[in-house]
């Protein structure tokens, strides 16, 4: 029990961020019209591609003789980049059409 309490105290800053972000995430998209559900999902999909940063750190820290870490890290960087780039480009393509529409 004490271990758990210690863990919470040690990471209280992070816990605060997590809790505030949960409320913010809900608040921020609360009034989205159903037309935008798909692009919003796609945009959010691109944002969680931020996991790429973890992949870059793993890759950059790997010792040059640890091939397992190098290969897995390399794969992680590629997959993460796919998520980020693909996600943003697809979202942009979807929204491009909305723009055309409102113009006319």
């Amino acid at each position: 029990m004490e271990k758990i309490l210690n863990l919470i105290t040690e990471h209280q800053q992070i816990l605060y961020i997590v809790i505030l972000m949960i409320f913010l995430g809900i608040e921020v998209i609360g009034k989205v019209p159903s037309v935008l559900h798909t692009p919003l999902m796609s945009g959010a999909n691109a944002i969680h591609g931020v996991v790429i940063i973890g992949a870059i750190i793993v890759m950059g820290k790997a010792e040059s003789d640890n091939y397992m870490a190098l290969i897995l890290g390399f794969l992680a960087v590629i997959l993460g980049t796919l998520n980020v780039v693909g996600g943003f480009v697809v979202t942009d393509r979807m929204l491009e059409m909305f723009k055309k529409k409102t113009k006319g």
């Binding site: 961020i17 995430g25 559900h37 960087v77 980020v84 780039v85």
Partner: protein, 471 residues
């Protein structure tokens, strides 16, 4: 250097929040996406050039690997994203989501190796917080990856729905196994039992597959949205692991927003999340409508359909999934222009969940340059149906099924529908009499004012256009 990186991450976090906010307003959405993308680029470049290890103060190495990975990912990602057809967008989102999940899982695997080798062999105490986030990242990341791949395959038509008895018990059992092993490892980790971690990894992948397998194709958007928020949480685990605030904020933000979006999508279809996940549609619980004898339907010839439409004053087009599959949006726009030339008023009635994802039809018709003011939302459309001469239904089924209003025993009962039966004539274009996604018969097709026009949406529309030109 470290200070500048902190600023980069701060900018990144703020742009994600602003970007997401703007993405939920039609007029600002595109800019919002670019804002988030810019913030992401700053955070990524900052990490590559400015990151320093906390303990050793070392900068990152292996630049060749990092940059070749980034370049390969960027080129392939851009090509796929640019080339994909508008109809295949849902699959695409699912595919990219799976990539993110896999990325999070791989990071956990590498960090676990790192932790089990270094900390244990050098006799240090295991940091429980780190271990928990490694486990969570691996579990959630692999579930998200495996689930997204199955969803992708299903939307592509490569994988069929597969339901079996006791699937819920199996899933709960697997989850218990995963959490059990994780808890066991958390307190007893030694170099000897470290291999159990890979079993967690494998079982999580299996869970992801079994979790999505029985869910019906119509519910895939909801599932993808849910998996999307899973990946967000997996990314946040990485943020905890590296004490990296931008990963943490970005991940949790998407996790929370994604969960709410999932619920909003369910609401738009008037289904509960529980209902979707436990699969009352896809699970094959069709309540005895096989025994219910349907009346007969009547077919209409192309030339008759053309004549009726050309001489009416108002036509309402109801696009559905069939239109999307046949890529018929351009031909549909052609038909609309032709009818307008003949003095017929043409509007589109868009059900919020028509097609495969909410908003799918809007995107698709916009691609074909259909003007925004011609697209009516469900409430507006329902008011106009009684003044409409002809309703042309193109590959839509469940969204016009009157059972949602009249038949409490129907699985889609309570879902808001387009009340097309108020119009004078209804022409339904479908490929066959096969039921739609919900797997239920549609009474509309057997009503006296309804006539069927069988065939592929695009081919039929092309013939219809040719016929109307001759009228």
């Amino acid at each position: 250097m470290e200070n500048i990186l902190t600023i980069c991450y701060l900018i990144g976090s703020v742009t994600f929040i602003i970007g997401l906010k703007m993405l939920s307003h039609p007029a600002k959405a595109r800019k919002g996406n670019l804002v988030a993308a810019a913030g992401m680029s700053i955070a990524i470049l900052g990490t590559i050039f400015l990151y320093e290890d906390k303990e050793e103060g070392k900068k990152l190495g292996n630049y060749i690997w990092i940059f070749s990975g980034l370049i390969i990912g960027t080129v392939v990602g851009t090509l796929i994203a640019k080339k994909v057809k508008m109809t295949a967008m849902p699959q695409m989102v699912s595919l990219f989501n799976g990539m993110g999940g896999a990325c999070a899982a791989l990071i956990s695997v590498i960090e676990f190796q790192h932790l089990s080798q270094h900390t244990l062999e050098h006799g240090g105490a295991v940091h429980h917080g780190l271990l928990i986030s490694i486990f969570l990242g691996a579990i959630i990341g692999s579930i998200s990856f495996a689930g997204s791949m199955i969803a992708w395959g299903k939307l592509n038509g490569n994988i069929k729905d597969y339901a079996y008895g006791g699937q819920q018990i199996t899933n709960v059992g697997l989850m218990v196994v995963i959490l059990g092993i994780a808890a066991y490892l958390l307190f007893t980790l030694t170099p000897e039992n470290a291999f159990w971690f890979y079993i967690i990894f494998g079982v999580s992948l299996l869970y992801g597959v079994l979790f999505v397998m029985p869910i019906g194709g119509a519910d895939m958007p909801v599932v993808i949205s849910l998996l999307n928020s899973f990946t967000g949480v997996a990314a946040a685990c990485g943020g905890f692991l590296y004490d990296n605030k931008v990963m943490l904020t970005g991940g949790i933000l998407v996790g929370a927003a994604g969960t709410l979006l999932t619920i909003l999508m369910c609401n738009a279809m008037n289904r509960s999340l529980k209902n979707v996940l436990l699969g009352s549609f896809g699970g094959g619980t069709k309540q005895g409508e096989g025994s219910k004898e349907q009346g007969s339907y009547k077919e209409i010839s192309l030339s008759d359909a053309a004549t009726i439409m050309a001489y009416s004053t108002k036509v309402m087009i109801v696009p559905g999934y069939g239109l999307a599959v046949a890529q018929a949006q351009h031909t549909c726009h052609e038909l609309e222009k032709l009818l307008e030339e003949k003095g017929v008023e043409v509007k589109y009635a868009i059900h919020p969940v028509a097609g495969r994802m909410p908003g799918h039809m809007n995107v698709l018709l916009a691609e074909a340059d259909v003007s925004y003011d011609k697209l009516l939302e469900m409430e507006e459309a329902n008011e106009e149906f009684k003044n409409t001469d002809v309703v042309l239904i193109l590959g839509a089924n469940d969204v016009v099924n009157p059972a949602a209003k009249n038949d409490p025993s129907s699985p889609i009962y309570g879902m808001p529908i387009l009340e097309v039966e108020q119009a004078k004539t209804v022409i339904v274009n479908k490929r066959s009499m096969k039921p739609g996604y919900a797997g239920i018969e549609n009474d509309l097709f057997f009503q006296p004012k309804t006539s069927m026009l069988f065939g592929d949406a695009k081919a039929t529309l092309q013939k219809l256009v040719a016929e109307i030109k001759n009228v």
